[in-house]
């Protein structure tokens, strides 16, 4: 009795924190991701990510098969961007075995990688809006564009998402002129869609209120946690591997690196929109410069297409990295001269970007946690590789 009466005076209230188990089957965790959230009222005081529900032993599997046979497995890391995963892995092995890539194949690779970036960024923005409560309308506008690009992927590589298109020293299939023409049309029409998408969202007061000053990631923290990709750039750090490494032929193209200021959810959203504009610029230049004919696979590697098991890179180690749409995707391969890699390691950007989740969420409400998670842009296939 005494207790109830004293409850009228809030300072005398005996409050406790509540521990909530969020996921792994929760629809807004983008897959099977679990968080242990301790909250005080609705405010988050502690957040522990729990990963590993989708663990598939990717690295160990790759160590037990020939180099070329793990190419289709890399598709399944980040299943939204199989082309850039292929890219990273082939770069690593090419470095290891010292393989040159023919000119035309280089251009095809860049075109595919940038198309992938468009696919990823439109869908991640769509899903972010899903998390904000704009249920499925913006996603489907985004998917309309994504569909066109996936059709191109299907025509070029044979599969919409699990492309398995890159080979060491080149690419698998020829890309016909009519497909190039269609890519050109897509590139031409895309800015119109982006404009509409931006008009729909960027100045929308609800979006601004929900996103600005939420989940701020300061510059120093982002760098010390080795965050990469659009997340890092939204915090204002000018770091893009396409510029830093100039891998493949990225050194030939003119493009800028959009940067955010505050590093909140809104900046992360906006940096992605701007990045799409830059990708379109790269695509424009690549489509103009691509040689009309040429080899697809380097002469050195052509015989190994038919017999991947005979491909034995010299003893050594190599680290190949690309600017995947989600951040720095790196593959570390150690060869002992046998047909199988002795060690194979993936630096998965989703996984490393996720480690900072708690610092971004502390002090925010539970509803904001979902938005912040959405803005990190994770794919669980990559987190739990």
């Amino acid at each position: 009795m005494e207790k109830i009466f004293s409850a009228r005076d809030p300072s005398a209230l005996n409050t406790e924190t509540l521990e909530i188990n969020f996921g792994p089957q929760h629809p807004s965790t983008h897959g099977v991701f679990r968080m242990n959230i301790v909250c005080d009222g609705e405010t988050v005081v502690s957040l522990k990510p729990v990963m590993g529900y989708l663990h598939r032993n990717h690295e160990q599997i790759a160590e037990n098969m020939s180099y070329a046979a793990s190419m289709p497995y890399t598709d399944r890391l980040d299943y939204f961007n199989s082309m850039s995963n292929n890219f990273g892995y082939s770069l690593a092995v090419e470095k290891l075995a010292n393989i040159e890539v023919p000119e035309r194949a280089q251009y095809i690779r860049v075109i595919m990688a940038e198309l992938t970036r468009l696919v990823n960024h439109v869908s991640v923005i769509g899903f972010l809006l899903n998390d904000l409560g704009a249920f499925f309308t913006p996603v489907l506008y985004a998917f309309r564009e994504r569909e066109k690009i996936l059709d191109i992927f299907e025509e070029v590589s044979g599969a919409r998402m699990m492309c398995n298109y890159f080979r060491f020293g080149g690419v698998k299939y020829e890309i016909q002129p009519h497909i190039l023409q269609r890519i050109k049309e897509i590139v031409k029409k895309f800015p119109k869609f982006l404009e509409e998408f931006e008009a729909l969202l960027s100045k929308n007061e609800i979006l601004c209120m929900r996103c600005q000053n939420v989940g701020v990631l300061p510059k120093e923290l982002a760098v010390s946690a080795s965050i990469t990709g659009p997340m890092l750039r939204a915090s204002g750090v000018d770091y893009d591997i396409r510029k830093v490494d100039k891998y493949s032929i990225y050194g030939r193209f003119k493009f800028r690196i959009p940067l955010g200021e505050k590093g909140d959810v809104y900046d992360r959203y906006y940096v992605r929109i701007l990045e799409m504009h830059e990708s379109l610029k790269i695509l424009d230049q690549a489509l103009k410069d691509i040689p009309a004919t040429g080899e697809l696979v380097s002469k050195k590697m052509a015989p190994f297409l038919k017999s991947p098991r005979n491909f034995k890179p010299p003893v050594g180690e190599a680290y190949g990295r690309v600017e995947a749409p989600k951040g720095e995707l790196g593959f570390y391969v150690v060869s002992d001269g046998t047909p199988q890699p002795w060690r194979y390691h993936v630096r998965a950007p989703s996984f490393i970007n996720l480690t900072i989740l708690e610092d971004m969420c502390l002090g925010h409400k539970i509803a904001d946690v979902i938005v912040i998670l959405g803005s990190v842009d994770i794919v669980l296939g990559e987190v739990d590789h």
Binding site: A69, M71, Y141, R144, A199, L200
Partner: protein, 187 residues
């Protein structure tokens, strides 16, 4: 700017999209979905889904020689091959058992790439749902066999190129055999 005008503008765009989806084609922003079982989109030639074995003329005459290369290269190891033997126990150049577990196959196309005898190719068949795994999704040799004509139907460009290659190889072989026979004759 007045507070709320952004929301209003977004709603106008949604409204515009609502109407375009009814009155415009997929190229101008209309709907691009089709009502699947009744209407079907044309299949892309390179589309790949589960492998099949090619035979020339009749099913007895299959190209596969049971060399086991595809089974070794297949990343998830879902191909199982047993070679056929004749009555005296000599190995024949054909498989007695050729099973592919479609629940494991990941449609990567590596078997197609690795086969040195142009015997296995990726199919367009994707409606393979069934009530039970063992009876429906474990494909045996007889289920996998398909004719070269079928291959021509689904992938005309590739099939024609491969036929051309095979013919040339055969002619070369014949010429070499004739040359060898001629070289022998003078003795």
């Amino acid at each position: 700017m007045i507070f709320g005008s952004g929301v209003l503008r977004s709603m106008l765009i949604t409204l515009k999209n609502f109407f375009t989806s009814y009155f415009k084609g997929p190229e101008e922003g209309g709907i691009f979905t089709v009502e699947y079982p009744e209407t079907r989109l044309p299949e892309k030639e390179r589309f790949r889904n589960f492998p099949f074995l090619v035979y020339d003329r009749n099913p007895e005459n299959l190209r596969c020689v049971a060399c086991d290369i595809c089974a070794k290269e297949c990343p998830p190891k879902c191909i199982y091959i047993v070679r056929e033997f004749d009555k005296e126990g000599r190995p024949l150049k054909r498989p007695a058992v050729f099973d592919i577990d479609f629940t494991v196959c990941m449609n990567c196309g590596i078997c197609e790439e690795a086969c040195p005898f142009d015997a296995i190719y990726m199919d367009h068949e994707f409606e393979i749902a069934g009530p039970e795994r063992q009876s429906r999704l474990l494909y045996h040799k007889d289920d996998l066999l398909k004719s070269n004509e079928y291959f021509h139907k689904i992938r005309p460009t590739d099939a024609t190129a491969i036929d051309q290659q095979r013919r040339e190889a055969e002619e070369k072989k014949k010429a070499a055999a004739e040359a060898a026979a001629k070289a022998k004759q003078p003795d």
